[in-house]
């Protein structure tokens, strides 16, 4: 962001500062139990586990950041000298020292009664087989080495650095997605009539040593080629006529679509199930994206609409529901959507006059109300209390049973495609413009003729309808609904994935869902730290890249426009003084 510290620190002070931060981070991970749990996940078989990899990344990063050139404003950045290596090493050595001291402390005092994750096993593992005292030494030296290495990345040219960093990142990613990629790879190999032996790439739940080397070399080579030639390729693409570019884009989309259609054929049912879940979250994300991304209304109770969709489906479809009768699906679907929209508008109407941050809290309150009511004895006769509603019959569409995970996946995929199309159309329409205008400046939008209440309700209602659609799939998928499925964390999850991808961006929602829903489902180690990760993602994104990973062009501009504004302010100050209070 625009606020940067202008304070000049000496390199040694900087090294100490980042060393301390890195040290705190290195202690943090074992203390909250991440190190221990993540060590169940192999990165490179027999060489590196995920938990330990975190230490390495921290030490590397500390060195890298310390060595980063810090020019004074207006000065050319000076390339870092060999001294940078020294300071990088110093920073990570400090971090190593702190971690070592922590291990020493934990070895001599039993911290377990308070810090439940600091077990004997953890300490043993952190001591690398030796005594705790030797661990201190190892950590200082190892830290220094890694820190120098990280700083070294600053010394080499950008052309070399980018491929190195990206190769490391790719190796990590390919290793982490082992459960998915390995299954696909095996299937592809066996269908091609080859032996489905993948040990040249994967072993023991992560990359094998050969695999790691292979991936590193290939990505490095590929990226090196791209850094030298990439701009040429891009320029060539840009020079093509509009028509051709559209065709290339369309072709890519089509290929991706075909791949998604084909995917379940080669996946185990476990993976197909995860894919279905990701699809559901994409659906939810697209719905909330209209409310938050387009219209700028921060709705923290979005799960309520998922619940409305799920429960109304269950009530009308299940013969075991309290109604005692059941409707066919083709009647239930529109009915559910109508109910959800009406409820959305009813909730929205009183609170939409409020300022954005109030709205957030009120919707959060509504989400909680929904949960409390569903769980209460009062509503139990109708909604089944904690036992939920069972016996949701599987729908059939043209004789195809949707309960089957594969068929359900296709149904969800089709729904996602339709909803994404609708979102896209909306974003470039009169309605979309009105929403955008409202998000940027409510009062001015109103002065330009946009009915604020009307358009807020429209956004809220549309979001509610789409949310209930996901709820319906949710109920069908499980065959039952329980109140515990609809807790606040779902809302937070959806919000986090939208923000990660970039508010208002449709591809952002899709990527966000894969990263924040797919990955944790795939890697069960992540499961219990999911919320911790969400929290960290939200905070660091807002601090570093508020527009998200795949920003819509507008959003990016909106969040980086301050500089121009400041300049304006200065200009204004020279002119006539502004009228106070009301401007």
């Amino acid at each position: 962001m625009a606020v940067t510290e202008v304070k000049q620190r000496s390199p040694r002070q900087l090294a100490t500062k980042f060393g301390l931060i890195a040290g705190i981070a290195s202690i943090y991970f074992p203390v909250v139990g991440i190190t221990e749990r993540f060590n169940d996940r192999t990165i490179v078989d027999g060489v590196l586990q995920l938990g330990n990899a975190i230490f390495f990344v921290i030490a590397l990063a500390a060195g890298y950041i310390v060595a980063k050139p810090r020019p004074l404003p207006g000065e050319e950045p000076e390339p870092p000298g060999p001294n940078a290596l020294l300071y990088g090493a110093l920073a990570s050595a400090i971090a190593g020292l702190m971690t070592g001291l922590f291990v020493l402390l934990a070895d001599s005092v039993n911290l377990r009664p308070v810090l439940i994750s600091v077990t004997g096993g953890l300490i043993e593992r952190l001591s690398y087989g030796g005594s705790a005292a030797s661990a201190v030494l190892i950590m200082i030296m190892g830290g220094a080495a890694l820190g120098a290495l990280g700083a070294g990345l600053q010394l080499i040219s950008t052309k070399l650095r980018r491929p190195v960093v990206i190769a490391l990142g790719t190796a990590l990613l390919i290793s982490l997605t082992e459960p998915l990629l390995n299954a696909i790879l095996r299937e592809v190999l066996s269908q091609m009539g080859l032996k489905n032996n993948t040990s040249w790439l994967y072993e023991g739940g992560g990359l094998s040593v050969t695999g790691a080397i292979l991936v590193l070399i290939l990505t490095f080579a590929g990226m090196s080629w791209w850094t030298t030639r990439g701009s040429g390729v891009k320029a060539a693409y840009k020079q093509r006529p509009e028509q051709q570019r559209k065709m290339i884009k369309g072709g890519a989309l089509l290929l991706a679509g075909l791949f998604l259609v084909y995917l379940p054929q080669i996946l185990t049912s476990f993976l197909a199930e995860i894919l279905g879940t990701v699809g559901l979250y994409i659906l939810l994300g697209l719905g909330l994206n209209i409310v938050v991304g387009y219209a700028g209304l921060l709705d923290l109770g979005y799960v309520a609409f998922l619940a409305v969709g799920g429960y109304s489906t269950a009530l009308f479809v299940s013969e075991r529901s309290s109604l005692g009768w059941a409707l066919p699906y083709w009647q239930v679907v529109p009915l559910t959507i109508i109910i959800a929209t009406v409820i959305g508008v009813m909730i929205g109407a009183p609170v939409l006059r409020l300022r954005g941050d109030y709205l957030a809290i009120v919707t959060l309150g509504f989400g909680e109300i929904a949960r409390v009511i569903v769980l209460s004895d009062w509503a139990a006769p109708t909604l089944g209390g904690a036992q939920g509603i069972l016996g949701i019959t599987a729908p059939e569409v043209f004789g195809v049973d949707l309960r089957d995970p594969q068929n359900l996946y296709y149904a969800i995929l089709a729904c996602v495609a339709i909803v994404a199309f609708i979102s896209w159309r909306l974003s470039r329409s009169r309605v979309g413009r009105a929403w955008n205008a409202m998000r940027e400046d409510e009062q001015v939008a109103e002065a330009m003729g946009v009915s604020i209440i009307g358009y807020k309700l429209l956004a809220f209602g549309t979001g509610a309808a789409l949310g209930s659609l996901s709820g319906m799939f949710f109920a069908i998928k499980l065959g039952s609904v329980f109140p515990s499925s609809f807790n606040i964390l779902v809302s937070i999850n959806v919000l986090a994935l939208i923000i990660l991808g970039g508010m208002g961006s449709i591809p952002g929602v899709i990527v966000g869902s894969f990263v924040l829903v797919g990955l944790p489902e795939l890697l069960r180690e992540f499961g219990e730290f999911r919320l911790l990760i969400f929290g960290t993602v939200l905070v660091s994104l807002m601090l570093l890249k508020p527009e998200g990973l795949i920003p819509s062009r507008r959003r990016q501009a909106e969040l980086h426009i301050e500089e121009v504004e400041e300049e304006l302010f200065e200009k204004r100050a020279d002119s006539d003084g502004p009228e106070p209070a009301v401007t």
């Binding site: 329409s429 009169r430 979309g432 940027e440 002065a447 946009v450 501009a557 502004p578 401007t583």
Partner: protein, 260 residues
């Protein structure tokens, strides 16, 4: 009957009477300048007319219909559009999109239209685009060539111009301009004087402008109204108002030096 007719407009904030029994009118095709020291209640009058504040006492009619109780978007639909003293564009939308938002109140496509994009929606979208481009074209080569740039990236004077273009795109009859010359250099101010004149002569707008810059007020106004402490203290041609002792006192009087 005048286009805009205000009788006895009064607005209080707590104990402070920001606008006190103001009578005011604008005829069709007329340019009226509103002057007065800071805090005289000029912008508050705009805010009341455009529906941002409720009126406490008094009447206001536009084109024969009462404006009382209308929301800002309804006022715009009746045919009054405004600009803001501190420029308020939609900075992250393109120049063209900004102007297209102005067309909002003259068009109707809703959710269904957006999703299915039938012939009517397509035709309407075309109309919106054309009207917006027309409004931009009024500023010659200033805005049209950059219609796909983000509004936030425009120069200061161009932002002021785009605000006016956006107001024009609402197809209003009356434009309320709040300090359009603020922050402009002398050359740009001269251009603004010509431009406001063209607004009336070529497009037939009635214009009310709040302005501190006296040459600008003098250059464009058919009539000038002066406010001080929420009260109207003078009205007439620029020459008459400028000579009015109460106006001179309001601007130069000792009591204002403390508050200025």
């Amino acid at each position: 009957m005048s286009l805009l007719e205000i009788k006895g407009m009064t607005k209080r904030f707590g104990g402070l009477t920001a606008v006190d029994q103001v009578d005011f009118h604008v005829d069709e095709g007329e340019i009226v300048g509103v002057i007065g020291p800071n805090g005289a209640g000029k912008t508050t009058v705009f805010n009341i007319v455009t529906g941002f504040y409720d009126i406490d006492e008094g009447e206001m009619t536009f084109d024969g219909g009462s404006l009382i109780g209308l929301k800002p978007n309804q006022v715009t639909k009746r045919g009054i559009a405004r600009t803001f003293q501190a420029i308020r564009l939609f900075p992250a939308m393109t120049v063209l999109e900004n102007a297209m938002v102005g067309q909002h109140c003259r068009t109707r496509a809703g959710l269904g239209g957006a999703i299915f994009k039938g012939p009517r929606t397509i035709a309407e979208e075309k109309k919106i685009r054309e009207a917006a481009r027309d409004a931009l074209a009024f500023f010659g080569k200033r805005l049209s060539p950059v219609e796909n740039e983000l509004a936030g990236s425009l120069s200061y004077a161009d932002r002021r111009r785009l605000e006016i273009a956006r107001a024009m795109a609402t197809e209003a009859k009356l434009l309320l301009l709040d300090e359009p010359a603020a922050g402009m250099n002398p050359g740009e101010k001269e251009g603004l004087v010509t431009l406001i004149g063209r607004l009336r002569d070529e497009k037939g707008y009635a214009v009310v402008l709040i302005e501190h810059d006296m040459p600008v007020v003098k250059g464009v106004s058919d009539r000038v109204t002066a406010l001080d402490y929420g009260k109207k203290i003078a009205e007439g041609t620029y020459g008459e108002v400028a000579k009015n002792p109460r106006v001179i006192e309001a601007y130069l009087g000792a009591r204002h030096e403390e508050t200025a």
